[in-house]
Symmetry: C2
Subunit: 416 residues, 2 copies
């Protein structure tokens, strides 16, 4: 886990009866998993491009997939497999270098063949293999190198191989992203949750995509795992943005091995899962394409949580707000204009806005603040923005990054 763990209690919990200990580890932190990465030759750079996460025995599996109507072949195949098994899996095979989307029947067949090859190497059913791909849209994965890479990949899986796997799924990512925690409850139960992810645009279809694999040694029923994963994703990955774009390949897989000897309460497990996903999500924003500042938005005083989230999301996706933060400009006018554009009923005279601790707008008009000091405070790598709507008691948070020349360079100058 990174040095600044995000330890958020589960919503509705007054008094957590568990402790969350950050670990410096990743997807192989829990018992019962191994992982690895190999270079199969899918990337021009010659860097590692295939990864695997394997459970020692068939594990409970759940996944959340992209909401994009254009879905990659590995998404289609993974959906089918989870339905066929009722939420069980042995392994997740991931590749960077090509997204295997918009590649027609050949792409779909290649995904099926890859799952079959992995199943053969692992000695499990084909339906017990899940797949993730990331890379260029519409460019086929080189079939033979991909299929030839699978046996060595299975062979490379190791109980200490989490970092190798995390590195093999990077595309425009500058750093690999791992997180892990150990949770204990006051009944003496404990479990470990670990994960890895990649993504530096919320998506950049030609270069990046959000993929995550999360593991735990806690025993989870498939339906329970599904609910926990969806709630944790909604509160973490669904509340961050780099460029507001939805990938064709986004996938988050949870594998639960059930190998923990004295597992903790479901509440404790969910809190640990939430902590790992929140940590991975913020690592992704911090490594956002061209990002120089992470912006932590809190919208409070809303009539409903949905209103608060709509406002936070609109502000967090606004190019003018994001460029103002790139320039350390406490330009609250851009923020209040985005609040007004969120489609939510507001009362301008009730709005208060604080940037990096400086109240810049009060009662919907400019507050008396020190521009130079506010600008100075905005140069920190993490900047808090608090928007109070003055209407109610509901709130939501959202994390985004600034929009800089670096984003343009990465995404425009990657030309033919």
């Amino acid at each position: 886990m990174s040095s600044d763990p995000v330890d958020q209690p589960v919503e509705g919990q007054d008094e957590p009866v568990h402790q969350i200990l950050p670990l410096d580890d990743g997807v192989t932190a829990p018992w019962g998993f191994s992982a690895g990465g190999v270079t199969a030759g899918l990337k021009g750079s010659g860097r590692p491009d295939m990864a695997i996460v394997v459970a020692d025995d068939v594990a409970t599996a759940s996944a959340v997939f992209t909401a994009n109507r254009i879905q990659a072949a590995p998404v289609t195949v993974s959906r089918e497999h989870l339905l066929a098994t009722g939420g069980r899996a042995r392994a997740v095979v991931l590749n960077s270098g090509s997204a295997n989307v918009c590649c027609g029947p050949d792409g779909l067949q290649l995904a099926r063949d890859a799952a079959a090859a992995a199943a053969e190497a692992l000695g499990c059913a084909t339906e017990e293999v899940l797949l993730c791909s990331t890379g260029v849209i519409g460019e086929p994965i080189p079939a033979q190198p991909y299929l030839d890479g699978i046996a060595p990949l299975v062979a490379a899986a190791d109980p200490n191989g989490g970092l190798d796997a995390a590195e093999a799924i990077m595309t425009t990512d500058l750093v690999s992203k791992e997180s892990a925690v150990h949770v204990t409850d006051d009944e003496g139960g404990s479990a470990t949750i670990g994960g890895m992810c990649k993504g530096s645009g919320m998506i950049a279809p030609s270069l990046a995509t959000m993929l995550a694999v999360v593991t735990t040694d806690a025993p989870l029923d498939p339906l329970v795992a599904d609910g926990m994963l969806r709630r944790a994703v909604e509160a973490t990955f669904n509340r961050v943005s780099v460029d507001g774009v939805i990938s064709t390949n986004d996938t988050i897989v949870l594998l639960a091995s059930g190998t923990a000897v004295t597992p903790p309460s479901p509440t404790a497990i969910e809190a640990g899962l939430h902590a790992v996903l929140a940590d991975l999500a913020i690592q992704m924003v911090r490594d956002g394409e061209g990002a120089e500042h992470v912006i932590h938005l809190t919208v409070s005083g809303a009539s409903t949580e949905a209103d608060a989230l709509a406002v936070a999301r609109k502000v967090g996706d606004d190019n003018l707000v994001k460029t103002a933060f790139a320039g350390a400009d406490p330009n609250w006018g851009r923020i209040i204009a985005a609040v007004g554009a969120a489609g939510v009923d507001i009362d301008p005279t009730g709005i208060e806005i604080a940037i990096a601790g400086h109240v810049v707008c009060r009662g919907g008009v400019k507050a008396d603040f020190d521009r130079a000091a506010a600008s100075e405070a905005m140069q920190a790598p993490d900047v808090d923005v608090r928007i109070d709507l003055g209407l109610g008691t509901e709130r939501a948070t959202f994390i985004t990054c600034d929009l800089t020349h670096g984003y343009i360079t990465i995404n425009a100058e990657y030309t033919t």
Copy 2:
């Protein structure tokens, strides 16, 4: 009108029975109007910052205002005035340098005082004056220079003053924006429609806003004028984007003097209005902050027009699509991913995409195309993108620009 008039027939018209002749003129092209600009000292740059458009006698007036819930004082006052008069006005007073929004009761009072001052100078009712402002949000307009500027502004109004007015409302605009046409029908009727606008972000709240004044000598009933204006705005200004952000001040005013001797059919008037707004809208995109390419999107083969427009708007607002065009990269994967993210039911296997005349995707997969030739064609200042969904017969168009380093520079480096 610019050298490449956009001459679009009114929807539903099979055979236009009118001709549209582009004129090299602007808001004072129609009979019965004068306009002008002065330097009142509202801008630090010392450039002209107040403009007026005046009808010789009280004219039919209609306006479309921003959908933002945060609305500027001039928007509030103009709404009130149009309601009070039932759709009549004598003049529109515009200023750049400050948006007069989020300035509390003082800002509202200043707008009322400005309207009263203009009414006094013109000898009309205060309610017959409409107001528009553009500039920084939350920073008050310097009251005395603004009010002192009004009498000289009224005195400066001239039947040939359209360009002066267009120049006085510029902010980050690099060029002033005027358009005018003469319409004739086959019954011998004719009228002139002229206009001006400013805006180089669809909004950049601290620097820009979309403002337009359109005039005609055709006689129009207020209700008819309102319908015509709303339809024309929906088909033009509402189908362009620079950065997808909604201003607090956006306003489009139509003034109809009724001075044309033999006015043409309503259909001809509406076609002329549509042509002027379409031309102004495209001039605005062409002058978009940092824009190097104008992207003309056409989505066809949709089940409904609303679906076609939703897809076109999603593609047109997508930062990754826009950066790909900045790099002349025929990266159709980004386009199809945006299509899939539009929330519209689609069939990936029916999608065809052409960029600058090159079919890059057919049946939802990569077409056989010459990448280098497509990239070369994308270096033109105007690039056509055609997306056929293969589902039905409905279509929509949308115009956007690329996202470049220039946009970041303008909006990030405008710091405290």
